[in-house]
């Protein structure tokens, strides 16, 4: 390959860093109050003291629940080689009890190099699970069950959770059930008898604070001095970056990002996007890169939708708006057409299209989800008679029209009049 350009190399390094959750979260793993050390303590104590535990990892999406868990598991697998077997299930895939039991049996077989049969009934699989838990317990092996999207396992009779947790309290087993969920009330979803068996350790994952964010920025973006990159390039890159960090504009940009969504994931995506805007010829990050990234990350899909609409479609939207303001509870294609005609009649506009064309525009709007059917009933009816609703508010419409390049003045006026009245 022969990567001559140090900037290119630096970008590759930084990108791989941003995409590697292990790298990001090692930053927060050393303090004893971090979730990392708490989780590690819980799991390792059940490995060494041969006890059972069940933990819930809760927190909004993008706060590093699974990333921290992966980090802990990696460490523990290194620390206790072949004493831990990890079974991973996902609520989206295995919320059905039979399927989950089969998957557990499959993974257990794989882990211990046993022959697995797809034919086994769920009874057999659950007996196998209990036998395995017992054997593993006797051999001082811990089985970790990682249940991602834990809330989805709490549907129905919760047979899987019950049999897991019941086995953990009755058999000589060594197992840890780790539930990962973004629903804060995940433990309330459990049935009473399941909840009673659950040991209710909860770890809460929160978005990073301002200070953490600052640390994260430096941790992720500053180039290491001891790498194979040219020394002066690294020094230059880092000093420019520190200048950017101190820049008022950069701070404002970060504030905007942070104000809307302060999770790790959002910040990392933002940084990644900024990195992608880096000009390889200049070779250094600049505030402009971050500005571009901000506009990239804060998309306004509905507004952009409006930008792509044709004039006729805008007419239809405005008609619907007018009908809505006049407190017509529902409208359908026919009533919209009537309104369209009345506008045309009263203002003598030049753009008047045939009904067929209007209908195609109407369908297009439906597909873009700027308008929608009021309910799912009446699939049999023709589109013209089904009631529809506008999905964007007048501010959005107004803004959209304003930013629309060749918007007829009459439309603009009409909407403005609606707002004033």
């Amino acid at each position: 390959m022969g990567l001559k350009n140090p900037a290119e190399q630096a970008v590759i390094l930084l990108r791989s860093r941003l995409c590697n959750p292990n790298f990001i979260f090692t930053l927060f793993s050393d303090s004893p109050d971090s979730n990392y050390s708490k989780l590690k303590y819980i799991i390792s104590s059940s490995v060494t003291e041969s006890c059972n535990n069940s933990v819930l990892l809760l927190g909004p999406r993008g706060c590093g629940k699974l990333a921290v868990l992966e980090l802990v598991l990696e460490d523990l697998l290194r620390e206790f080689p072949d004493m831990i077997s990890v079974i991973k299930l996902n609520g989206l895939l295995h919320s059905d009890d039979n399927c989950a039991l089969k998957e557990i049996a499959r993974q257990l077989c794989l882990e211990h190099q046993l022959a697995f049969s797809k034919m086994a009934s769920s009874d057999e699989n659950s007996q196998f699970l209990i036998a395995m838990l017992r054997e593993c317990g006797l051999a001082h092996k811990t089985v970790l069950f990682v249940l991602d999207e834990f809330d989805l396992f709490a549907q129905g009779k919760q047979r899987l959770l019950y049999s897991l947790l019941d086995a953990m309290q009755s058999v000589t087993s060594q197992a840890v059930v780790i539930g990962v969920s973004c629903r804060l009330d995940a433990d309330q979803l459990l049935e009473k008898r399941v909840r009673s068996r659950f040991s209710h350790r909860k770890l809460l994952f929160l978005p990073p604070s301002r200070e953490d964010l600052q640390r994260l920025l430096e941790h992720a973006l500053l180039l290491p001095s001891g790498s194979d990159l040219p020394h002066e390039f690294v020094a230059n890159f880092n000093s420019k970056l520190l200048n950017i960090f101190a820049d008022k504009m950069f701070k404002d940009i970060m504030d905007t990002v942070f104000n809307t969504d302060s999770t790790f994931k959002q910040v990392l995506t933002f940084l990644f996007s900024a990195l992608c805007h880096l000009d390889l010829k200049r070779g250094f990050l600049s505030v402009e890169n971050f500005k571009d990234a901000l506009s990239n990350i804060q998309r306004q899909p509905k507004l952009e939708c409006l930008k792509d609409c044709s004039i006729l479609e805008l007419y239809i939207l405005v008609c619907m708006k007018r009908l809505e303001v006049r407190e017509h509870e529902t409208c359908n294609f026919n009533s919209i057409m009537k309104e369209y005609k009345s506008i045309h009649d009263s203002f003598q506009t030049t753009d008047y299209y045939a009904r067929d064309v209007c209908r195609r525009a109407f369908e297009h709007l439906l597909q873009r989800e700027l308008i929608s059917f009021l309910d799912n009933r009446g699939h049999g009816h023709s589109i013209e008679f089904r009631p529809v609703k506008l999905l964007i508010s007048w501010q959005e419409l107004y803004q959209g029209l304003k930013s629309y390049g060749s918007c007829p003045a009459i439309l603009y006026k009409l909407v403005e009049r609606e707002t004033t009245t």
Binding site: D82, L114, A115, Q127, A139, Y162, S163, H200, Q298
Partner: protein, 825 residues
């Protein structure tokens, strides 16, 4: 968990006394009747040679005789086990030696075993032809020793080894090479015996705790030590223990004993193995007196038995303080095929089962056992084949299929026993944590005496009546009140009574409704539990109906009363409730002899069912109320008895907290365990930070319990609200504002967006735009802080707070970055 053995003091006088008494016993010709009341034929083969008090003369080697068995002429004789390695010459060597692994030994042994199994097969064939049978015994008096099944014995390893001839029962002192009567102390490292007076400086009495002799101490420090040389002409006599530990002897567990057709006595042995001979070698945590049980069996002539030894589980071992020299510890089983270790499962359970088997078996007929052993051999061959062929074995032996008997589970085992599991010095908090585990069940549940009596009376009444008409008990109570545990405890006590003959035997079937794949499967499970056959549930229903309703009994012995325990009974409710009806209808049949105990959470389950079911089930009920705080306190402190880890108010606080919420004992135990964990974590943290912090209290205090309670009961939403992004906070504040303004819990996104933009403009915040706001709302909905409809509805999306608005107010009132929010809350 193994405990350090207590100081073993070797009191020679006592030992000799013991020997005397045993030799007395030998001289008395024991009659079969006196030994055992059961009608079992037994041979008492007594040697007339008078035995010396200390060293009984070794039995003359008679291995040649083995060859006279006509069916073994072609195969090598099994008994002469030639040692693969030279026996270490002296005990000193043995102590230092970490022996190399000798895997070839297993090879030969296995081959021999297979040969022997072939022999067994041959023998059986011959038996069938000749009409002669092997005769099995439970207890054999042989060579002046009495051996029964389950005993552990020393077995000779070599033929004609002269050292086998000497068998000193008393160890000699390392220093003075005399046995003597003085008190000896055992070094925990090399197991050498020392007279107290021979030590420098001499000890007055046996010290508490571990004691290590100065030679071992010196070698530990890396010095070269010269052990005292025995006086010329005197060869050290080694005890059987020493020989065993230097692999000159074998220890074996007697599995069964029989007399061959030609009159020789044989037993089936299960070998023990010393740590040096395992693949992992001796590990640092191995105790000197530790043995592993193997999964290897062999048939050995009784001739090669030397005498008894005592292999104990850790619990007994730690209790056995001075029971002589032949005491060993065995905690793990060693798999010779896979070279892996596994803890031996609860011994009490196994023993119970074994006992049951014994009582059932007719010991005079060998048919059953023979077929048994043949099954065994088949299985073993299969196993060996399986290990060779690997996982390409096909479906028939898949691990998760029952047909394969969970094939391959023996593979699971630790290659090495992890050291931390054997670290014997647990902290008080560690002990407390172990005791508070849900899995460690007490023998009998505290605070449930009344209920236990009631259940006992119910079962006793039903069983002893003999005709048990319509016996059905419904037990209800909230989770964690000890329902299942109490019933199982009652069954345990009743089993003891059955064993002692007070009650007629019955069979007991335990089913958990939530573990059945479907309610109908219960028929299959019941049928399988009663007969051991697996049929489809429809067939099972038919057969069960036949048995219970029509009174046609399958076999004589199956005519026992049957107790059916159904846990989580409410899961059996089907649409037409036929499963429950069938099960509850059987007891009412005149010849059913069926007793049903149903357990469920809801109090009014019978009332919710069809009247024909509730009339059958709802007659006799038992309620397990939630525990009150005194009971919870008693439960916790009964578990923590003798462990100084908790402050008393802490326990009371935990039990009061739980009693106020649910009265769930599991919850109370978990809180205490969590509190102990937190305290442990705190202590470790402070230790790692600075060592001087050890002065802080190491007990679990009220603060720890409070933290645990908080974690368990408090929903984390307030913390999340406090730390969420600025826009989310504004969003939530707008929701509360909207709620106060309209008085309606539900609002739509359009209205909310208006409110947010109002709030933003009037307080100098930039309004981020509808789409961003919408995304924020959906994120909050994902965490269930608010409830919202799907995002497709956009403007029309309905929103509602999932928590009381006061929580939001509390969380956002004094947020630093948005001080103006308080105005709107």
């Amino acid at each position: 968990m193994a405990e350090t053995p207590k100081k073993r003091s070797k009191q020679t006088p006592k030992h000799q006394q013991h020997d005397l008494s045993s030799s007395n016993a030998i001289t008395i010709p024991a009659t079969p009747v006196a030994l055992e009341p059961t009608p079992v034929r037994r041979s008492s083969r007594l040697y007339t040679t008078p035995t010396a008090a200390t060293a009984p003369p070794p039995p003359p080697p008679r291995f040649t005789r083995r060859k006279s068995l006509n069916f073994t002429t072609t195969t090598p004789t099994p008994i002469p086990k030639t040692p693969k390695k030279p026996a270490p010459q002296s005990q000193e060597d043995a102590a230092k030696q970490i022996s190399p692994i000798s895997p070839d030994r297993y090879e030969t042994r296995r081959k021999r075993k297979l040969d022997e199994e072939k022999n067994a097969g041959l023998a059986k064939n011959k038996d069938l032809k000749g009409g002669k049978k092997r005769v099995y015994y439970r207890k054999v008096v042989y060579d002046g020793g009495e051996f029964s099944i389950g005993d552990d014995v020393y077995v000779k390893r070599r033929e004609n080894a002269e050292s086998d001839n000497e068998d000193p029962e008393v160890e000699e002192c390392v220093m003075c090479f005399k046995a003597g009567r003085a008190v000896m102390i055992e070094c925990d490292e090399c197991l050498g015996g020392f007279h107290l007076k021979c030590l420098k400086p001499p000890l007055k009495e046996v010290p508490e705790g571990d004691w290590i002799c100065r030679f071992c101490e010196a070698t530990k420090l890396g010095k070269n030590v010269e052990l005292p040389v025995p006086p010329a002409g005197k060869k050290r006599a080694r005890t059987a223990k020493e020989k065993l530990l230097s692999s000159d002897l074998w220890a074996a567990h007697i599995e069964s004993m029989w007399k061959e057709v030609d009159g020789t006595y044989w037993f089936r042995s299960r070998w023990y193995i010393i740590p040096e001979e395992t693949a992992a070698g001796r590990q640092p945590h191995n105790l000197r007196r530790e043995l592993y049980r193997t999964n290897e069996f062999a048939d050995v002539e009784m001739e090669s038995i030397i005498r008894h030894c005592y292999v104990m589980n850790p619990k007994d071992f730690s209790k056995a303080a001075d029971e002589g020299d032949d005491v060993f510890l065995c905690e793990y089983e060693y798999d010779v095929c896979w070279h892996s270790f596994k803890r031996i499962a609860e011994i009490s359970n196994n023993e119970e089962d074994a006992e049951e088997d014994e009582s059932d078996k007719d010991w005079n007929s060998c048919e059953i056992t023979d077929s048994d052993s043949e099954d065994d051999t088949d299985y073993k061959k299969e196993k060996i084949n399986g290990s060779q062929r690997g996982p390409s074995f096909g479906h028939s032996l898949a691990a998760n299929l029952r047909k394969g008997q969970f094939f391959g589970l023996q593979k699971i085992g630790a290659k090495k026993i992890p050291e931390h599991t054997r670290c014997h010095k647990q902290t008080e908090i560690g002990k407390a944590k172990a005791m508070l585990l849900l899995a460690c069940l007490p023998k009998s549940p505290p605070c449930r005496n009344k209920e236990m009596e009631e259940i006992t009376a119910f079962i006793k009444g039903a069983v002893s009546d003999g005709q048990c008409l319509g016996k059905c008990l419904y037990i209800h109570g909230v989770p964690g009140t000890g329902k299942t545990m109490t019933v199982l405890a009652v069954m345990r006590t009743l089993k003891i009574e059955v064993d002692s003959g007070n009650i007629k035997p019955y069979c007991f079937v335990e089913i958990n409704g939530l573990k059945l794949a479907s309610p109908e499967n219960i028929y299959r499970v019941i049928y399988e539990a009663l007969t051991g056959h697996r049929v489809s549930w429809k067939k099972a229903l038919h057969l069960l109906n036949e048995r219970f309703s029509n009174g046609t009994n399958w076999e004589e012995e199956n005519n026992k009363p049957c107790i059916l325990l159904i846990d989580e009974l409410d899961l059996l409710v089907t649409r037409n409730q036929s499963v429950l009806y069938n099960i509850l209808d059987w007891p009412t049949k005149p010849h059913s002899k069926l007793i049903v105990i149903g357990i469920a959470n809801t109090m009014d389950l019978p009332e919710k069912l069809l009247p024909r079911i509730s009339s059958r089930m709802g007659i006799q009920r038992l309620c397990f109320g939630p525990y009150n705080y005194q009971q919870l306190q008693e439960i916790i402190s009964s578990r923590l008895k003798g462990i100084d880890a908790f402050e008393k108010p802490a326990i009371e606080f935990a039990s009061r907290k739980v009693a106020a919420v649910s009265g769930d004992a599991r919850r109370a135990l978990e809180i205490c365990r969590r509190a102990a964990e937190l305290a442990d974590y705190r202590l470790r943290k402070s230790q790692s930070l600075n060592d001087s912090a050890g002065t802080r209290r190491s007990l679990v205090g009220v603060a720890d319990v409070e933290a645990a309670v908080k974690e368990m009961f408090q929903a984390p939403h307030i913390q999340v609200m406090k730390s969420c992004s600025k826009l989310s906070k504004i969003f939530l504040a707008a929701m509360v504002h909207e709620l106060y303004k309209t008085g309606m819990g539900e609002t739509s996104f359009e209205k909310l967006a208006m409110t947010v933009s109002c709030l933003c403009t009037s307080n100098g915040e930039a309004f981020p735009g509808f789409d961003t706001l919408f995304r924020v709302g959906c994120k909050l909905g994902e965490c269930r802080i608010i409830l919202c409809e799907v995002g497709v509805r956009h403007k029309l999306q309905k929103l509602q707070l999932n928590f009381p608005s006061d929580d939001v107010t509390f969380a956002l009132k004094d947020s630093k970055d948005l001080p103006w929010l308080a105005k709107y809350l």
